[in-house]
């Protein structure tokens, strides 16, 4: 059909790449990597990084064409699927920036409102020795270095690798830098949530109470149904925004922030169901869902939590309108 161009989801060769990366991560221990990472933080650069390097995925340059962007997103999703203790989205986003630094560049997004030179920003995995760059909501990019007391200020159980960085002098970034960096993180979140639902379904099929696997009970089925629905909606928003970034569409930032809104809503739905249906087992360190839940927190709180992300999205729509079947301009400045 001449007009049947519509094709959601990754291209076939990208799906193949994602399968290869997933298999390699599973063979290397899967969730065991994140389970060891807090006790042995060197797992991150000592095992995970060499593994990713051997797969040649750390060299992807996501602003070098749609295929590279898709490939980067696929790798982020695969990494998220095991809550991989390594800043994959940040490393790949960093490849879009030029640097004279000898260290690899890692780029993440911060809320730079009110953060000037010398200010602090919280960054997941910020303790790793990369040339850190921070892109703010403003689109400006600044270098960052560990705060002198960074080790002492490491996060708690819900953000074990969250570290304070000190922000340097910023300069305008390329238009694609902000949406791209933010969206690769959303693909990591997508992978995490897909795994969380898979783990929960598997547990509900195994766990027998009152003589039957609990997945046979309607109350459990409905909870899973709502989680699956939220996840499906996030997945569609994520792929649409990826396409939007790849095409450099004018509204791609709103699309990316919108996808993040869908992602944060799905995270609440999927992980709450995950904990509830795992029962007490879900809190225990032996259960993968516990690790996925804890390690999803930095992605869900940084750079902005759900209410702040919704507000950001609203501001963008009020400023630029919403691109849909009936696009219209909305004339009301925010605030």
């Amino acid at each position: 059909m001449a007009d049947a161009r519509f094709e959601p989801g990754f291209d076939e060769e990208i799906r193949d790449l994602e399968s290869v990366v997933r298999r390699a991560l599973r063979d290397a221990g899967g969730f065991d990597l994140v389970m060891r990472s807090e006790r042995e933080p060197q797992v991150r650069t000592g095992e995970v990084e060499p593994l990713l390097a051997s797969l040649e995925v750390l060299d992807l340059v996501p602003d070098a064409g749609e295929k590279e962007l898709q490939a980067a997103a696929a790798v982020c999703r695969a990494a998220g699927a095991f809550a991989l203790p390594y800043p994959v989205p940040e490393r790949l986003a960093g490849n879009t920036l030029s640097s004279s630094d000898s260290a690899a560049v890692a780029l993440t997004v911060i809320d730079d409102r009110g953060v000037g030179v010398g200010g602090r920003a919280r960054v997941n995995m910020g303790d790793l020795p990369f040339a850190w760059r921070l892109v703010g909501r403003s689109g400006r990019v600044a270098p960052a270095t560990p705060a002198a007391d960074a080790q002492a200020r490491r996060g708690g159980l819900l953000g074990p690798f969250v570290t304070d960085l000190v922000v340097g002098e910023s300069a305008p970034g390329a238009p694609v830098t902000l949406p791209l960096a933010l969206h690769l993180q959303s693909f990591a979140l997508l992978g995490m949530l897909e795994s969380a639902l898979d783990l929960t379904v598997a547990h509900a099929r195994d766990r027998v109470q009152f003589g039957a696997p609990i997945i046979q009970y309607q109350a459990v089925q409905h909870r899973l149904a709502d989680a699956l629905t939220a996840l499906q909606l996030f997945e569609q928003q994520a792929f649409y925004a990826l396409w939007s970034v790849g095409r450099r569409r004018a509204g791609s930032l709103a699309d990316v922030v919108g996808a993040r809104v869908a992602g944060l809503r799905a995270a609440d739905e999927v992980l709450r169901a995950g904990h509830q249906l795992h029962g007490a087992t879900g809190f225990c360190d032996e259960a993968a869902i516990s690790w996925v839940s804890r390690h999803s927190q930095p992605l869900r709180r940084l750079p902005l939590n759900r209410p702040e992300t919704e507000r950001w999205f609203t501001e963008l729509v009020l400023r630029d309108g919403f691109d849909g079947l009936f696009p219209s301009k909305v004339a009301r400045p925010p605030g």
Partner: protein, 389 residues
């Protein structure tokens, strides 16, 4: 990866919007009103579409259709629903009655029934639900029994039958064998003016003509009006459900109304609390999510690998969207949601918008019930996960 439909589908959308602008009044809210002019608008619009070859855009060329792609069909459904279904009751004829007759009908039935549907001249209603057979459709108890002369006699009661008061034909399910279950059900193509049929409107908040009861008292019909095989009507029902594909594109009207809001209520827009603006913007976002999920399902259907859990997830999300958007829009209206304050000019854009929102809210209450309740969708997802993980 591609999210454009292509030039043909885009051109169709433009053309449909032009036709709607020319032939459908700006305050049209569907054919189900007390104003007979609304019914006439819909009938006339169907003839316009038929003359342009657009009414049966989805039908195969051998039956006078255009063999339109799934994306052209999607554009058609989106534009019609977004603009309050200006085809009125006739959408059912082209969407699933015609295709069911193409597949299961005899040559005589095709020649008899398809041309009037394609010409926009006939209204069909669906005689499925009964007082004790809603979600559990195979529990239907309307019977068709053989009379001594070999013809059939139908007895029973149908309910919730939309369009029955304006239809000429009914696509009716009756039990010809057994007492319950999918076996023993037969499809009859029944003239609504047959002796023994009584139709009584059921007054409801959905507005006039939406819901009706149909009583069948020894209604005579012969074998020429049986669609498919006797006792094997469930095969036809299954196809009918498949023709409906993803059902009504509710997201299209939701998005249109949300997009209209800032201009329609410009007087109060600047004073809305931030929380309402956030609900409005995120509701717009949800329309996109549901729309994209519909497209995913359609794409999978064209490739023949549908996941029933994803289809059900779409249906659940679409109906919840309808209700959430209804609440968001009603809240945006404030007290105007309760009806126009006097003196009101019904032609004013704000009054038109308020009427459309009020209509949407009332209709949205049925979203999670009609065509399969949301509980059924959740059950389906749950069962699929239980089986396949």
């Amino acid at each position: 990866m591609e999210y454009e439909f292509g030039a043909e589908a885009d051109a169709l959308r433009t053309r449909l919007r032009r036709l709607i602008e020319e032939h459908v009044p700006a305050d049209f809210l569907g054919a189900f009103t007390d104003d007979p002019r609304d019914f006439e608008v819909a009938q006339a619009f169907c003839r316009v579409l038929a003359d342009d070859g657009l009414l049966t855009i989805a039908w195969p060329k051998e039956y006078g259709g255009r063999g339109g792609s799934v994306w052209e069909q999607t554009v058609m459904r989106e534009e019609m629903w977004a603009h309050h279904e200006p085809r009125g009751a006739q959408y059912m004829g082209v969407n699933w009655v015609g295709p069911a007759i193409m597949k299961h009908g005899t040559e005589e039935q095709r020649a008899r029934f398809l041309p009037p549907i394609a010409a926009g001249e006939v209204i069909w209603c669906q005689g499925f639900s009964e007082p004790d057979a809603g979600s559990d459709l195979p529990a239907l108890r309307t019977t068709a029994t053989r009379a001594p002369d070999g013809s059939w006699r139908i007895n029973g009661q149908k309910c919730w039958t939309s369009y029955a008061g304006m239809a000429q034909w009914c696509f009716l399910l009756a039990r010809t064998g057994g007492t319950r279950g999918r076996r023993g059900i037969t499809v009859f193509l029944l003239p609504v003016d047959s002796p023994g049929i009584t139709i009584r409107p059921i007054k409801s908040m959905l507005g006039p003509h939406h819901l009706n009861e149909m009583f069948l008292d020894n209604v005579a019909v012969d074998d020429a009006n049986v669609l498919g095989k006797v006792d094997k009507g469930w095969a036809v029902v299954r196809d009918v459900l498949a023709y409906e594909r993803v059902g009504i594109p509710r997201y299209a009207r939701c998005e249109r109304l949300l997009q209209l809001a800032p201009e329609a209520i410009a007087d109060v827009w600047a004073d809305l609390p931030e929380s309402q603006l956030t609900r409005w913007a995120t509701a717009l976002l949800e329309t996109r999510g549901v729309r994209l999920l519909a497209y995913k399902v359609l794409q999978a259907q064209t490739e023949g690998h549908t996941d029933p859990a994803v289809v059900a997830a779409y249906r659940a999300a679409a109906t919840l969207l309808d209700q959430n958007v209804a609440e968001v829009l009603m809240d945006l209206l404030g007290s105007a949601a309760l009806g126009p304050a006097a003196p009101a000019d019904p032609g004013h854009p704000a009054a038109r918008f308020a009427a459309a929102v009020e209509d949407h809210w009332r209709y949205a209450q049925a979203a999670t019930i009609a065509s399969g309740t949301i509980e059924m969708q959740r059950n389906l997802i749950g069962r699929t996960l239980a089986r396949h993980g």
